[in-house]
């Protein structure tokens, strides 16, 4: 993380501010989303925002160790969003027999 071209710290700070604002707006939608699909989409994009925040933060701090949590969050976000989508569409999570 030390080798290669360094990202200017102004870019990193602006990106952190913008991502923080975006996360705040997404949390607002998550709290007062009128319907359940709104909240599901909001939680999915909250996961994406948190992933982006961690990546930018690991650039700022200069350590690659935060990037593992990014991968775990990506897997869990995919699992949660697809489970919520299936629950909304089908009403259940795991089918017994294929149709």
């Amino acid at each position: 993380m030390t080798a290669g071209m360094a990202v200017p710290s102004l870019v990193i700070n602006v990106a952190l501010i913008v991502l923080g604002l975006s996360t705040a707006l997404v949390v607002l939608r998550l709290l007062r989303g009128p319907s359940l699909p709104d909240r599901v989409v909001a939680s999915d994009s909250l996961g994406a925002n948190v992933i982006a925040l961690i990546v930018v933060l690991s650039l700022k701090v200069g350590t690659p160790h935060y990037l593992d949590s990014v991968l775990v969050l990506a897997v869990l976000g995919f699992l949660g969003t697809s489970a919520a989508a299936k629950f909304l569409v089908r009403g259940g999570l795991i089918d017994k027999h294929g149709d």
Partner: protein, 137 residues
């Protein structure tokens, strides 16, 4: 559910998530990772298959009873602890050595990795037993 897009993605995601969870298990102890999170990752990979396909299909393609995973993992973890206790060392005293393996190169293999393998099996067994039991109802 005949969702072509979800099924296609789920097939590819199985390999990616499994590779990531195995990577997490083998780098544990010195860096973030270990058997617990690796087991959760593998369980997540199989839960995605449960979501995309149905219970019967996954059970036919993975014909194992996950309850045995719990017992096997606990026995393996206990065995690695007792093995060192039998050899005039303390219980759960772990050791490590450096090996040179083909294709991988220099690698540090620890007996704690065997303990982690036990934790991995226990976590997979417990998680998938719970989820499959809930799914059956």
């Amino acid at each position: 559910m005949q969702d072509l897009i979800f099924r296609t993605i789920a097939r590819q995601a199985l390999y990616i998530i499994m590779a990531f969870s195995l990577f997490l298990m083998f780098r544990g102890h010195n860096l973030p990772g270990g058997g617990f999170i690796a087991g959760l990752g593998t369980a997540a990979a199989i839960v995605v298959q449960y979501l995309a396909f149905d219970l019967e299909l996954v059970r036919r393609s993975l014909p194992v009873d996950y309850k045995y995973f719990i017992a096997a993992g606990l026995l393996l973890a206990l065995g690695t602890g007792l093995g060192t206790a039998l050899g005039n060392r303390l219980f759960m005293n772990h050791t490590f050595a450096y090996y040179h393996l083909p294709l991988i190169g220099e690698i540090e293999l620890t007996t704690a990795l065997l303990f982690d393998l036990g934790v991995y099996l226990v976590v997979i067994g417990a998680t998938l037993t719970i989820i499959a039991t809930i799914g059956e109802e």
